[in-house]
């Protein structure tokens, strides 16, 4: 005989899950009891939202679905922001929630919340389990749905009694058959041919690469395609890392907070090849105009993204890996004209950034640039949301590592828990957080998780005593009226980190900061480096 809870654990084991992030509670207790006997590592976070963010960081760092667990009611509702964040960034995730006993459902009993209903807009799919016998099929389907097609979070809500019910035996299904879910992965050959023709005719083509290139593991193919054709590459925020930052063909991030050379190239282009990007409003300020100025080839695994924001000349639905392979094959060594090539090189040289500094403060952009080279080449940088995110996006020189941030939802407090997940997935990699004093305070409770698990995560807090991004907006649009954006209470973060048993220091110059960074990257212990940043340091130049 085997209980529902034991079945859940066996399903996770069958899927190769080695780590889950969660927070227990009454209705998920049967599962936690079974987990106690398993080799699956459980990381106890300090608030459920961070379990979802950690699962997201884990998923992105090791290209496997992340798993988070919470109890019913508030545990489940706390997960929502994390699930929604993963949904917007297309992260494969399984969220497991306990639910009140099935015979009490709908009676508003203690800690009951309709979590499948509440998560409806933020999940790729969700299940409210009705029978214990359905668990193996549901888990098999859930992992399949979360990881194939356009990845995303899948929620499984399991009433407590169904975790306790006993079944005769357990067998994990080998195959999945969901009538309405058969994602198309190979690009239509006629469309690929049309795209090739457009590329060969184009005078000033650019590639816009998004998170889809990374999630399908196609970044080397994209590089190869760009190198063969010599087409310059821009990336969205989610696409940072598709090319090494110093690659001659890479022009940087586009968009409202992007690099001028990237935006200028996009303005001049006559053919935009969009790869795995949905082109949200932060990437393209006026997407409706984009399709009229230049022709657009849009490659995406999700047909609903094509034509949603930007008018498309040639749509190609398929997995980025397959489509790029087809394109590389069909392009037949074609290379773009030298004129555009030299124009792009000029653009890149012309828009070299000049950064002004403030005496007695850390200049964050210079520090982030330096930091890139002090870390190992495969380092994972987790940037939070706000000015720190833009500083990182434009100045971290990525080599073979990853840049993890929340591009779609822009959820403050993401970086620290995401780093926990990333570190659990890749113990061998340098994992560094860059956040602001605003975002740090949204998840500093996770210092406790870092300390408990002795996770080697370095946290760099860019303290400008402002909610800098909003404050910038107030400067520009709201006549410098700094409503609710001043954080001048100046808490002693060093003492706080030390209270959790984590070493920490505060610095006010780049020399000092670099000295610390050099030392702390050598150590295998966590560290919180508080950098005092001048409040007038802008997001972009």
């Amino acid at each position: 005989m085997i209980s529902g809870a034991e079945i859940i654990v066996k399903c996770l084991e069958a899927e190769g899950v080695d780590t889950v992030f969660g927070y227990p509670g009454a209705t998920i207790c049967p599962f936690y009891d079974s987990l106690y006997d398993s080799n699956i590592k459980h990381v106890l976070v300090r608030q459920e939202q961070n379990a979802a963010h950690a699962a997201s960081g884990y998923a992105r760092a090791c290209m496997k679905p992340g798993v988070c667990v919470a109890t019913s009611g508030p545990g489940a509702t706390n997960l929502i922001t994390g699930i929604a964040t993963a949904y917007m960034d297309s992260i494969p995730m399984i969220a497991i929630t306990g639910q009140v006993r099935s015979d009490l459902l709908g009676r508003d009993v203690f800690q009951e919340a309709d979590i499948t209903g509440a998560c409806e807009p933020f999940t790729k799919h969700s299940y409210l389990v009705e029978r214990t016998a359905d668990l193996p099929r549901i888990f098999k389907e859930a992992f399949h749905i979360a990881t194939t097609g356009r990845p995303g979070p899948v929620l499984i809500d399991i009433p407590q009694d169904l975790q306790e019910n006993m079944l005769e035996s357990f067998e994990y299904p080998k195959t999945v058959d969901i009538k309405g879910y058969k994602p198309n992965t190979k690009g239509h050959s006629v469309q690929v041919q049309r795209a090739v023709e457009l590329i060969k005719k184009a005078k000033r083509p650019v590639i816009v690469a998004g998170g889809g290139v990374l999630s399908s593991g196609a970044k080397l193919k994209l590089q190869k395609f760009a190198e063969i054709t010599q087409i310059p590459v821009l990336s969205t925020m989610m696409g940072i890392g598709v090319m090494p930052s110093d690659h001659p063909l890479y022009l940087g991030m586009l968009g409202t907070h992007g690099r001028k050379c990237a935006n200028t190239a996009l303005h001049k282009t006559d053919l935009t090849i969009v790869c795995g990007a949905r082109l949200g409003d932060r990437a393209i300020a006026s997407p409706d105009q984009m399709g009229t100025r230049a022709k657009v080839i849009h490659i995406d695994i999700d047909p609903a993204e094509i034509g949603k924001n930007v008018k498309t000349t040639v749509p190609i639905v398929g997995d980025m890996n397959n489509v790029l392979k087809q394109l590389i094959n069909d392009i037949d060594g074609f290379k773009i004209n030298d004129e555009w090539d030299s124009e792009v090189k000029e653009l890149k040289a012309h828009f070299q950034s000049k950064i002004s500094t403030f005496e007695g403060y850390v200049e964050p952009r210079t520090l982030i640039n330096k930091l890139s080279f002090m870390l190992k080449s495969k380092a994972i940088l987790c940037a939070d949301v706000g000015q720190n995110q833009i500083w990182c996006a434009n100045n971290f020189r990525i080599r073979e590592g990853r840049f993890l941030t929340t591009g779609g939802m822009g959820t403050m407090g993401y970086s620290v828990p995401a780093a926990i997940g990333a570190k659990m997935a890749r113990k061998d990699r340098d994992v560094v957080v860059v956040c602001g004093d605003g975002s740090f305070q949204m998840s500093l409770n996770e210092l406790s998780t870092i300390a408990q698990n002795n996770l080697n995560i370095k946290i760099i807090v860019m303290r400008n005593q402002r909610l800098g991004m909003v404050r910038e907006l107030q400067d520009k649009i709201y006549n410098c009226r700094h409503s609710a954006t001043i954080l001048n209470d100046k808490p002693d973060f060093v003492a706080l980190a030390k209270a959790y048993g984590i070493d920490s220091a505060e610095v006010s110059s780049n020399e000092e900061a670099e000295k610390f960074v050099k030392n702390i990257v050598e150590s295998d212990k966590p560290f919180v480096l508080v950098c005092n940043v001048h409040p007038d340091t802008p997001s972009i130049l």
Binding site: L128, I145, I178, G180, D302
Partner: protein, 163 residues
């Protein structure tokens, strides 16, 4: 532009809320929605009549296709399908007016399914347009209550919506 969509979905709990949630979430305006089981008891069919331009319809079809329990979405071609809606219309009717109302029922090919001292109830199964005509004809008598099922539609001839 008005269009009619036939959506085949897995016949399981919560599917309708996934579909209707999608409409409100993505600001798609719908005129009617009707749902019922098909020849295959594991599959239900939803008929949606909605309004919007080409961009909206295309988006709607694509977003519907993303819902996991949605098996098939088909936009029915104007003029190539039959549509019907069942309506029950209760009208105020004194004895003196009864004959007039019976005449209207005959003219419109509607059925009178209930007669009481001060009311007459019509049953009318027709296209949404013809139902509107009947409603317009009955308005002067004083409509007490209308209940409609929403439009269902099926392709003419050999064409069909199949899994």
């Amino acid at each position: 532009m008005q269009y009619t969509l036939s959506i085949l979905v897995e016949n399981q709990a919560g599917v309708l809320s996934k579909i209707s949630g999608l409409f409100s979430r993505r600001s798609f305006n719908i005129d009617s929605l009707a749902v019922g089981v098909t020849a295959d008891p594991t599959v239900s069919r939803i008929t949606v009549v909605a309004n919007g331009d080409e961009y909206v319809v295309e988006q709607l079809e694509k977003q519907l296709n993303k819902v996991i329990p949605v098996i098939k979405v088909k936009r029915l071609t104007e003029g190539e399908f039959i549509s019907r809606e069942l309506s029950l219309i209760k009208v105020h009717c004194s004895a003196a007016k009864r004959f007039e109302l019976i005449k209207i029922a005959e003219l419109m090919d509607a059925k009178i399914v209930d007669v009481a001292s001060s009311t007459v109830t019509f049953e009318y199964c027709e296209t949404a347009e013809k139902i509107q005509t009947l409603i317009d004809l009955l308005k002067p008598y004083g409509i007490r209550e209308i209940v409609r099922t929403g439009t269902v539609a099926i392709d003419k001839g050999k064409a069909q919506v199949s899994t």
